[in-house]
């Protein structure tokens, strides 16, 4: 690939490597959150001359993240670990790092599942997510937009880079919400040129940088430490 003209995209194998790096950094720097898990979908044999190497393909998954919206329009993510929705008994895995203002009984918790999936067509990661109430009812697109942090709703409305649509999950045959990829490569390129001042990033850092832009749109920030090289 021409080093001086990086187009902001990454290959499938670069995505897999970057995903592992992202998950490790997250675990290290975000202990209050459950870890991202790698869901393997394929092991693809890659042939080069007489050698066969296996590239593992899959996606990142973070599920049951609780997002609480109070009446003051402040949103925080409280974390319920990997306990299932109905499992209130399991205290050990519950880690409530709640950030809302206290004493507000009219708080409605919503649960989000996030999947970061590679798009072979656009050669960028794509965020898929879905939301549901504590009774298990799925949220529609409009409801989700109203649940998201106020400033991210603003971002969605005003930005031409980020918009959410309802589309089918590439593997699960169910409707999920998707944050659109068209344009991802453009802002990734800008991000690296402007912030990192390099023409081409170390690819393992791709997802960390990508998530620093995408995360806040859906109410998940990342700690500054994650952006620094280890």
């Amino acid at each position: 690939m021409n080093e001086s003209a990086w187009d902001g995209t990454l290959s499938a194998s670069e995505f897999s490597a970057s995903a592992q790096a992202f998950a490790e950094k997250w675990k290290l720097n975000n202990p209050a959150y459950p870890p991202w898990t790698w869901v393997k979908s394929l092991e693809v044999p890659i042939f080069a001359t007489n050698q066969v190497s296996l590239v593992e393909e899959g996606y990142l998954s973070l599920e049951n993240v609780c997002i609480v919206k109070s009446n003051d329009d402040e949103v925080a993510s409280c974390v319920e670990g990997e306990a299932s929705l109905y499992d209130k008994e399991d205290e050990e895995s519950t880690d409530s790092a709640t950030l809302t203002s206290s004493g507000n009984d009219n708080v409605q918790p919503y649960y989000f599942d996030f999947h970061i999936i590679y798009s072979a067509s656009f050669r960028v990661p794509v965020l898929y997510f879905r939301a549901y109430c504590s009774d298990g009812r799925s949220l529609g697109l409009n409801e989700i937009e109203s649940v998201l942090p106020a400033n991210s709703a603003k971002v969605l409305l005003e930005s031409k880079w980020t918009f959410i649509t309802q589309e089918e999950h590439p593997y699960l045959n169910r409707p999920w919400c998707k944050l659109h990829p068209c344009g991802s490569s453009d802002w990734m390129k800008l991000l690296f040129q402007a912030v990192e001042k390099v023409d081409r990033p170390a690819m393992e850092l791709y997802l960390v940088s990508w998530f620093s832009v995408v995360g806040p749109v859906i109410g998940l920030g990342i700690p500054i430490q994650m952006l620094k090289e280890p």
Binding site: A48, E168, P175
Partner: protein
């Protein structure tokens, strides 16, 4: 090129559409609607033709239209012809579908708010194809709203002339193949092209937008009539992965090569027994199909024709391959197939039934 395109655009499926019994409020029930549906069109677009048959018998309420075939809710964004090729192993004429105006299965199907949803989906696919072919969406993004609308309307009306006029503004490009073309002009080009993966002046990336629908059949059946019905979308693997054409001197990249390239997990080299557990290779089970199927293989640095392993018995068998209702020979050059049989949004939709032999004990 024109002839094949005409053939594709004129292709139609005779449909016999029955109103679901739960929504019939009159005695006797209304007769089914007989509609000729363009292959390159989409089921929700037929609603204006269908509704008059049933409007007087519907229960009160808001319409949320969806279609179903033998209990399987149909994905409305898949072109009608593709649905037919995939779901009717033995072509059924007319194709008997059930229409519902209530009770949309929103846990299974993404919402459809009429023609606008279908148009939006079409334009997005067009952008995706543009990106795959050119490395950017500029062609589509630079089309004016009215040009996009004109293009869309030509699809709604299955009007090829109008489509050709509209799409001239799109510059979709074609895939060059020095092996397939015979003119002296192209043989001059071919001197330059040999050995290079990215050969065409018009397709900058050398990639073809393809959507593959794979039905992994675990049982053997003689006639298509005996094929078991597809009762869930989980039985179908959907592969939305750009196809990279690998050119080799003197060799033609065929349709067969394309399928093997898109399904490396099925057609890759067999593992040696010493390499241990082989879960990914046993495709008989349903749970596996969910996770093991379609991902994006990306570059696929396969520069040689794939060897398919030890004995012929081990190889997956392509029982059926349908594109636009025809079963092209597997030796057909992929460039011809892609250029002539693609849909208006520039994707080549391929339905394939594959039988994978059950994993042998290693």
């Amino acid at each position: 090129m024109k002839e094949a395109q005409e053939f594709v655009w004129m292709g139609a499926i005779p449909l016999q559409i029955h109103l679901h019994e739960s929504e019939v409020t009159t005695v006797p029930p209304p007769p089914p609607a007989l509609i000729l549906a363009p292959r390159i069109g989409y089921l929700p677009l037929l609603l204006p033709l269908i509704k008059p048959y049933f409007s007087s018998t519907l229960p009160p309420g808001v319409d949320t239209v969806w279609f179903e075939y033998k209990g399987l809710p149909l994905k409305w964004y898949i072109p009608t012809g593709v649905l037919f090729d995939l779901l009717c192993a033995e072509p059924e004429r007319p194709w008997n579908l059930t229409i519902h105006f209530r009770g949309y299965p929103s846990h299974l199907l993404i919402p459809c708010e009429g023609e606008d949803s279908v148009k939006w989906n079409f334009i997005n696919s067009l952008k995706e194809a543009d990106y795959i072919i050119n490395g950017n969406c500029k062609n589509v993004m630079h089309m004016s709203q009215s040009d996009q609308l004109e293009l869309w309307n030509s699809v709604v009306n299955a009007n090829l002339e109008a489509f050709i006029r509209s799409s001239s503004k799109l510059k979709s490009g074609t895939i060059e193949d020095d092996y397939a073309s015979k003119s002296s002009l192209s043989s001059q080009k071919s001197q330059k092209m040999i050995g290079e993966a990215d050969t065409s002046v018009q397709t900058k990336t050398g990639k073809v937008p393809v959507r593959l629908y794979v039905w992994n059949v675990s049982e053997d059946f003689g006639d298509m009539e005996d094929a078991p019905p597809i009762d869930s979308w989980d039985r179908i693997s959907y592969v939305n992965r750009p196809l990279e054409i690998h050119r080799e001197e003197g060799k033609c990249f065929t349709l067969h090569d394309a399928i093997k390239t898109l399904l490396p997990e099925l057609f890759g080299k067999k593992r040696k027994p010493s390499e241990g557990e082989n879960d990914e290779q046993s495709f008989g089970s349903e749970e596996e199909t969910k996770n093991n199927r379609m991902t994006e293989e990306g570059e696929g640095n396969i520069s040689q024709p794939l060897e398919t392993g030890s004995t012929a018995d081990d190889d997956p068998e392509i029982k059926l391959l349908r594109i636009q209702g025809i079963e092209p020979k597997l030796e057909t050059p992929i460039s011809w197939v892609a250029n002539h049989l693609r849909h208006p949004e520039n994707f080549l939709h391929v339905c394939v039934y594959i039988k994978v032999p059950s994993a042998k004990s290693l």
